[in-house]
Symmetry: C3
Subunit: 146 residues, 3 copies
């Protein structure tokens, strides 16, 4: 099993490093703009960094869940590649948002698209597995022929 | 291994679709009530939708983790069924909360109960596996006999 | 596969119980300080409890992801032990933060260190698996010899 998920696990580790990096930016911004916990509001510069990290954190579980389901049931290579694209998109989202509210939009659309593809591949992979298991129909063969 | 988790993976994909749907509602509500990021406060109608999605997001990782542990260590069929009930409950929670604060309570109690059962089954499954592995005692046979 | 992850699954269940416990504290605090949803601000005592749970929830997916990757690719026993330490640290973080903002710092540094070690072990485990799989080099043997 390990060989089937090692790339997906690698992308997960990169995602963990990225989230840790975003958290550190919030901690630095708290110091820079003197916003001590439990406060979460302050100057707009702080609030954008705070929300950028919050938004990335909110989607991280969705990202990881779709990454693993797609990696396990669809295809590891393609999934890992999409995962990398997503993480790169999130990096630009974070710094775009930190600069201005509008700056978050372009990378957000990109990440949203990649996330939808990951969810789509997960759905296709699971449906093919189910149809093979319960109906005896190997749909994946048709999918890969197309 | 795939056959043992395909239903649980299917419920995970449905959960991802539901979370994406909740996120879209927040985006629509931001437009409707003119609450631009990074702001998170606004009219109560907006705040309820915003918090409903935040609350569902907060519990999504707990849901997925209990779903997979229970599916792997207890029983896939029962787990997938409970997972579906949870997701239906969360749908009613979201729209109940969007209408009024009180409206969230009934579906919340329902989801909480299902979530507790999932955690309970996870605990039973893991304990049975541990006792079989480390004590040589097959408790699951007793459990399934009851 | 079950035997290779049963301890990690056990720590995950303990983590779920801890998160459920933190959530209950927020619900009690909402009653005690009369902060009804969708409100999230109130007296500092409430806000510290609210943020303590929010912070623990935010990091829970990172914790679980690193726990499973490290457990699968590095070593289950060490990973489960570190996971327990993290959960104990989070307990002290929660109650430290509930008492005062400063009270959260010592356990936070402890948790952060444990979390970094878990991410580090995940990275080492995945890199060793990759090098074995794609380069034919069994680095884990060297690692365990050191
Ligand atoms: N929690 C998010 C849910 C929806 C979402 O992901 N929105 C995108 C597009 S408006 C975003 O960038 N939100 C900014 C933020 O979360 O601060 C929100 O409050 O907006
Ligand atoms: N983050 C939650 C943790 C506890 C919880 O899940 N509370 C339930 C019952 S009071 C809820 O519906 N909270 C509404 C919300 O999160 O906005 C909170 O702030 O209340
Ligand atoms: N969401 C966190 C991200 C960074 C973080 O984990 N900060 C630590 C050290 S300042 C913390 O304890 N934050 C308190 C909190 O989240 O309320 C924050 O807003 O601070």
């Amino acid at each position: 099993m390990h060989d089937q998920i090692v790339c997906v696990a690698g992308v997960t580790v990169l995602g963990l490093l990225e989230q840790a990096y975003f958290s550190l930016q919030v901690i630095y911004a708290r110091r820079k703009y003197s916003v001590s916990p439990p406060m979460t509001s302050g100057p707009p510069e702080f609030e954008r960094i705070f929300r950028a990290q919050a938004n990335c954190s909110e989607y991280f579980p969705l990202f990881v869940a779709s990454l693993w389901v797609s990696g396990l049931f669809f295809s590891q290579g393609l999934t890992a590649l999409l995962g990398l694209l997503y993480l790169i998109g999130r990096y630009y989202y974070f710094w775009g948002y930190a600069e201005s509210s509008l700056g978050r939009l372009k990378p957000l659309y990109f990440c949203a698209k990649v996330q939808w593809v990951l969810i789509g591949l997960s759905a296709v992979g699971v449906l093919c597995s189910m149809s093979r298991l319960y109906l005896g129909l190997d749909l994946m063969r048709y999918v890969s022929r197309v």
